[in-house]
Each structure stands twice: as structure tokens, then as C-alpha cells.
């Protein structure tokens, strides 16, 4: 019996060419509305709306006048847009005896945050660099003690710090608060920097030593230019952490020097007079604006930093 396969070889080869052209070719088509996509995007949209709703209510309320708010439709967009509450929150709202709004707290917070961030990152990055590259006797123990500091609850240290600052004559001043923030940032930042510097190729450090560079030269000329990403991460951590801090601000300063968060609380929680919801909303948004801007601006920087740091190819 003849094998059909051998008989049909000629025909089959023509068929094969035709079959190849007919069959799937090129990129596989992707359906947009599959069940998975609908579930995933549906869930994401619902969750996003859920989280964006309060923000929407805050923005909308802050743009309404008090009569409109009293009507009770909190989801309704403002009929008549007014920036009055924002101005009031910034420069007129009263806390205690002062009636110069949040602006005082804003400048206090700037004066607290900027030096604290710079100081803590400067010290922690050198700490991390020394711990990663210049192994000294007892480095591991030193590091362990430092990290242990991250696990001690703040509350334990509040009162001792009050005494220390009082003895130093810094209690109730911005300088004192800056020192407190810098110290409390140390464990986590040092850990962050040490791990980053450890991940940089060790041979780079060795090469720099053979090239005759010393401790500071290697730090400033070799390590620092390669570390933009980790500096941005540290900055985000510190700026948001210190800006949002309430506890230390309330304990280690006095009413004149309260940071923005404390002042916000005093405005929103004031008991006398009418509750001005629109001013409260505006004040809250103003206070949250700084961390928000930091996220937006440094997010871009962060990506660029990672791309620029490529060592190997």
C-alpha cells in the first residue's frame, strides 16, 4: 500500500506554504476587554475613587462659602467659587492669641525641616559610608547599637530629651527641635546609606585608594556622585517625616514656634466660635501641600538618578 504521505509530498509542500500564510503570523492580537482586564481595572478605578473622594470633598468645600456649606450637599461642586477661605487660612485664622493664620506655622516648619533634613542626611551618609567602606574595629557593634535605636519607642526618650535640651539651654527653641529630628533620623538613614554604599562595587573603592584618594576625597568625588538616588530617597523620607511630625513639635517648642501641623490642629480644633469648615479644609490642604510637592518633584529626579547611576553595561 502506498504511503499517502510520500505520495502527497509535492502537494503537501505547496499546501504548507499556503498554510503558513493563512495561519497566525506577526504579533499576537490582544483583546482589550477581557474578563481579567475588566476585573483588574474595575477594581482599581473603584478603589481610586474611594480614596480620591475625601480629597474631592476637601477641595470642593474649601472653595465654597459658609452659606453654601450649610445647605449640606457636601458632594456638590461650588456654585460660587471663592478663595476667601484659603486666604483666611493662610493669613487670618486665629490660634490662641495670634491671628496671623498658618503662615507663621509654615515658616516655622520650613525653619525646622530644612536644617534637620540637611543635617541628618549629611551625618548619616558619612556614617553609612564609613561603616560600609572603612571597616574599623567595633564597626559591627556600633552599627548594631545604632540600628537598635530604631526599635526604641519615641515615648521612652521624650522626657530625658526634655532634660538634656533644658540643660543645654535649647529647650523650646527651633535649634533644639532640629537636633532632636536629626538624632531620630540617624538609625534608619544610616542603615539606608550603609546598605547603599555596600552595594556599590568594592573594587571602585579599592581603585580610588590605589589612586591615592583619602576618606573625604573618595566620599565627595567617587561615592557622592554615584549616590543621587539614595539621597533623593533619604530626602523624601526626612522631609515628609519631619514636616508631618506633630509630637516633637508640640513638646520641644513653644506656641510662637509651633510647626505647621501643630498650628493646623489648633485652628481646626478650636472650640470657640463657628466651625468654619471651608477654612479648615483649606488649612489642611495647605499643610499637606509640601509633602505632596516633594513627591511629585522628586519622583522624576528619582528615576533620573537611577538611570544615571549605571555602573556596568
Amino acid at each position: 500500500m502506498a504511503n499517502p504521505a510520500t505520495l502527497n509530498t509535492a502537494a503537501a509542500s505547496i499546501d504548507a506554504v499556503g498554510g503558513m500564510l493563512d495561519g497566525p503570523q506577526g504579533p499576537k492580537p490582544r483583546k482589550r476587554f477581557t474578563r481579567n482586564n475588566i476585573i483588574i481595572y474595575g477594581t482599581l478605578i473603584v478603589v481610586a475613587l474611594y480614596y480620591l473622594l475625601p480629597l474631592y470633598v476637601m477641595v470642593v468645600t474649601s472653595l465654597k462659602g459658609m452659606p453654601e456649606i450649610r445647605m449640606g450637599n457636601i458632594f456638590a461642586p461650588p456654585v460660587e467659587i471663592t478663595f476667601e477661605p484659603w486666604v483666611k487660612a493662610w493669613s487670618e485664622a486665629c490660634t490662641g492669641l495670634n491671628c496671623d493664620g498658618l503662615s507663621r506655622g509654615f515658616w516655622n516648619s520650613v525653619q525646622i525641616t530644612v536644617p534637620s533634613v540637611v543635617l541628618s542626611i549629611a551625618i548619616a551618609s558619612v556614617n553609612g559610608y564609613a561603616l560600609a567602606n572603612w571597616r574599623f574595629k567595633g564597626a559591627d557593634l556600633f552599627f548594631a547599637i545604632l540600628i537598635f535605636g530604631a526599635f526604641i519607642p519615641y515615648q521612652v526618650m521624650l522626657y530625658p530629651l526634655v532634660i538634656i535640651l533644658r540643660e543645654l539651654g535649647l529647650y523650646g527653641s527651633l535649634t533644639g527641635l532640629v537636633i532632636v529630628h536629626s538624632i531620630f533620623g540617624m538609625p534608619i538613614l544610616t542603615l539606608l546609606f550603609r546598605n547603599y554604599f555596600t552595594s556599590l562595587p568594592e573594587e571602585l573603592f579599592k581603585a580610588a585608594r590605589v589612586d591615592g584618594a583619602g576618606f573625604w576625597q573618595i566620599y565627595f568625588q567617587i561615592m557622592l556622585p554615584m549616590s543621587l538616588p539614595i539621597f533623593v530617597v533619604a530626602m523624601i523620607l526626612q522631609v515628609t517625616g519631619i514636616w508631618n511630625d506633630f509630637l516633637f513639635g508640640v513638646i520641644y517648642t513653644k506656641p510662637d514656634l509651633y510647626p505647621m501641623t501643630v498650628q493646623l490642629n489648633n485652628i481646626v480644633n478650636s472650640v470657640q466660635g463657628v466651625k468654619e469648615y471651608n477654612v479648615n479644609m483649606a488649612a489642611t490642604l495647605l499643610t499637606g501641600l509640601v509633602p505632596l510637592i516633594i513627591y511629585f518633584v522628586s519622583g522624576k529626579l528619582f528615576v533620573r538618578g537611577i538611570a544615571a547611576g549605571a555602573v556596568k553595561g
Binding site: 562595587p201 573594587e203 571602585l204 579599592k206 581603585a207 580610588a208 585608594r209 590605589v210 589612586d211 591615592g212 584618594a213 576625597q217 568625588q221 567617587i222 556622585p225 554615584m226 547611576g309 549605571a310 555602573v311 556596568k312 553595561g313
Partner: protein, 362 residues
């Protein structure tokens, strides 16, 4: 201390990492202009030794002299060495020019001197068109050239290479190997070169130091290492495929083992031939003659081909003799197949005998 025929002298060097003794009472003298290769598998202490010479690791005991000066406590930059690393270790944010001049700036050299030296190094290594580029814009071979250039501009006596070619692909590695050899001929510097690649070691070295467990197993010329390995470790480390090893016993000039009895009359014993001792006989695959060439050999065997690896230039065949397996290297034009009978032969002058217990050469 002013014996300037020696470039680098290492005396009784000991190094501990915690309780682990990484280098053991090591002595090594390297002549001026010599190319010394430190060869060994990973963890043998070869890179550690190089780091000690460079001053990147503190030694536990012993001394290091470079150019007649005791540099045991000196900073790496003061030792008169240049170093090339496996990962190139170029400063990523600096241009090639910046990379080359960084060390010179640190040394406080005048600007025109720096420019002169960078230009000379760039010319020697043919990297002039790359001077303004960043390392990220260079290929692997170019990067390694810049890394060599960084050692070159320092105008030092001793070059240290820490597996400089291991990150490159095979073809580039062969090219750069030739370039390094040429550079050495051109400059006449002392070079200490760490590698785990025996081909690099054999082709580049004036002398090879084979290391294992922090000890130098043998320090000799490539020729000597290949032809007269001092112990079984060295014999098996050098050569690819590795030397065939047959265990047995030596009685006078008769060796009896898995391949049967054979006379080793004519073997150049290191000392007096022992009367009777358990021994290991080694024969390199390329020293086994096969086919008709085997007929003239004093020692003859009959084997069956088990597995064939054609390489083009050579053909490697794994053959069985009784229960033993041997590797044989044959001419690439010979065609053999699984199951073919293959007559083998070799001469006693080409074999290696090792004491079974001490693994030292007999």
C-alpha cells in the same frame, strides 16, 4: 635591602580572616621586569595575596618589599603600584580623561605633566578618541583598556592585575591577552597577574605560582609546570582535558595498576627510584599516541572508543581500557566513532609518577 634585581619580595607573609588562615607563611621573590602569574581555583588566596601587595588588606604577619623598600605599612598609593580590576572599577561619573588623571591630581602633579602622561597612556593603549567619553559609553574591551591606562599613567614599577579579562567574552579575552603581553614587552614593568584561567597563565607568564589553600604549590616557568609538575594537584590543574591518572603500585621500574603491568624504564625520577610504593601514574591526553603511531611506543594498550569530542583542530576521545577511562587527544582529521577499537601507546619519558600518599612527584 637595596638588591634591585628584585622588584617585589614577600617574606613570611601570614594573613588571617578571623580564625581562617588565608595565607600561610608565604615567601615569594619577583624579579625586575618579570611577569608572574598567580594561578589557582577560587578561594586559594591568590586575589588576597594581590590585595596584600597592593596594600588594600592589612597583613597579620610578615613583610612586603617593593623596589627594595619595606612597604608593609605603606598606603596603596605610596607603594609604587598600579592595579587593574576585574570589574574595571572605572569611576562612572568621570570621563575617560578624568579617570586617567584622578590619581595624578590626588598626587598633586602639575597640570601639564598630567596632560602629558594621559596623552602618552592614551597613545600606548590607542584610546585617544575615547578620552571625552564616560565609561558607560564604552565597550568591555575599551573599559579594560582604560583601566590599564589608569595604572599606566601612574608611571609605577609594578602592575597588579586582578583577573582583568574574566569579564570579557572569549574572543576579546584572546585579543586583550596578546595586548597585555605586548604591553609588557614594550614597558618592561614587573607585572603580577592573578587568574584562574590556565591558558592566560601559560601564555603570559615568565613564571607561574600555582596556589592552593594559601600555599604556593609550585613556582616555576610554564614549561616546567607543564612538563614537571611537582605534585598531583599541579598536574591535574594544568592541561585540558586534565591528565589521566591511574592508581597502582610501583615496584622497581614496574608499575602495576588498572591498565595492567608496564615497565617505566626511562622515567626521569626526581631522586632515587623508590623500591616499592603505592603510586599514581599520570599521562596527558596529548602524550598518548593512537592508531599506527602507537605501534612504535614502548608501552602499548588496546582500547575502545567510548565518546568523541571533535574540536576541529583536535579531536578528543574518551576511551575505555578494561574498566578504566582515559582521555586521548588526536589529530582533528582522524575520524573515530563510538565502539571503534583504538590502539594506544606512550613512552615512559612522558609519564608522571606521584607518591600516592604524599601526592609528591617521584
Amino acid at each position: 635591602m637595596n638588591d634591585l634585581t628584585h622588584s617585589v619580595e614577600i617574606k613570611n607573609l601570614d594573613l588571617y580572616f578571623g580564625a581562617v588562615r588565608v595565607l600561610q607563611d608565604l615567601n615569594l621573590t619577583i624579579g625586575k621586569g618579570e611577569f608572574l602569574v598567580l594561578l589557582g581555583s577560587s578561594g586559594c588566596g591568590k586575589s588576597t595575596l594581590l590585595n596584600c601587595i597592593a596594600g588594600l588588606l592589612d597583613v597579620t604577619a610578615g613583610q612586603i618589599h617593593i623596589n627594595g623598600k619595606n612597604v608593609t605599612w605603606a598606603e596603596p598609593s605610596e607603594r609604587g603600584i598600579g592595579m587593574v580590576f576585574q570589574s574595571y572599577a572605572l569611576y562612572p561619573q568621570m570621563t575617560v580623561e578624568g579617570n586617567l588623571s584622578f590619581g595624578l591630581k590626588n598626587a598633586g602633579l602639575p597640570k601639564d605633566e598630567i596632560a602629558k602622561r594621559v596623552a602618552r597612556a592614551a597613545e600606548v593603549l590607542q584610546i585617544e578618541p575615547l578620552l571625552k567619553r564616560k565609561p558607560a559609553a564604552l565597550s568591555g574591551g575599551q573599559r579594560q583598556r582604560v583601566a590599564i591606562g589608569r595604572a599606566l599613567v601612574r608611571d609605577v614599577e609594578v602592575f597588579l592585575f586582578d583577573e582583568p579579562l574574566s569579564n570579557l567574552d572569549a574572543k576579546l579575552r584572546a585579543d586583550l591577552r596578546v595586548e597585555i603581553k605586548q604591553l609588557h614587552q614594550q614597558l618592561g614593568n614587573t607585572m603580577i597577574y592573578v587568574t584562574h584561567d590556565q591558558i592566560e597563565a601559560m601564555t603570559l607568564a615568565d613564571r607561574i605560582a600555582i596556589m592552593k589553600g594559601g600555599l604556593i604549590q609550585q613556582l616555576a616557568s610554564p614549561d616546567e609546570i607543564y612538563n614537571r609538575p611537582r605534585n598531583r594537584y599541579v598536574a591535574e590543574f594544568i592541561g585540558s582535558p586534565t591528565m589521566n591518572m591511574i592508581e597502582g603500585a610501583l615496584a622497581g621500574t614496574m608499575f602495576s595498576g588498572a591498565l595492567g603491568e608496564m615497565s617505566v624504564e626511562g622515567y626521569p625520577f626526581d631522586g632515587d627510584a623508590p623500591d616499592a610504593t603505592p603510586a599514581v601514574l599520570g599521562i596527558r591526553p596529548e602524550h598518548i599516541a593512537s592508531g599506527s603511531a602507537a605501534e612504535t611506543m614502548p608501552i602499548r594498550l588496546d582500547s575502545t572508543v567510548d565518546l568523541v569530542e571533535p574540536l576541529g583542530s583536535d579531536t578528543l576521545a574518551r576511551v575505555t581500557v578494561g574498566d578504566s577511562r582515559l582521555w586521548v587527544r588526536m589529530d582533528g582529521q582522524i575520524s573515530v566513532h563510538h565502539g571503534d577499537p583504538l590502539p594506544l601507546g606512550f613512552e615512559p619519558a612522558r609519564i608522571h609518577l606521584f607518591d600516592k600518599a604524599t601526592e609528591e612527584r617521584l
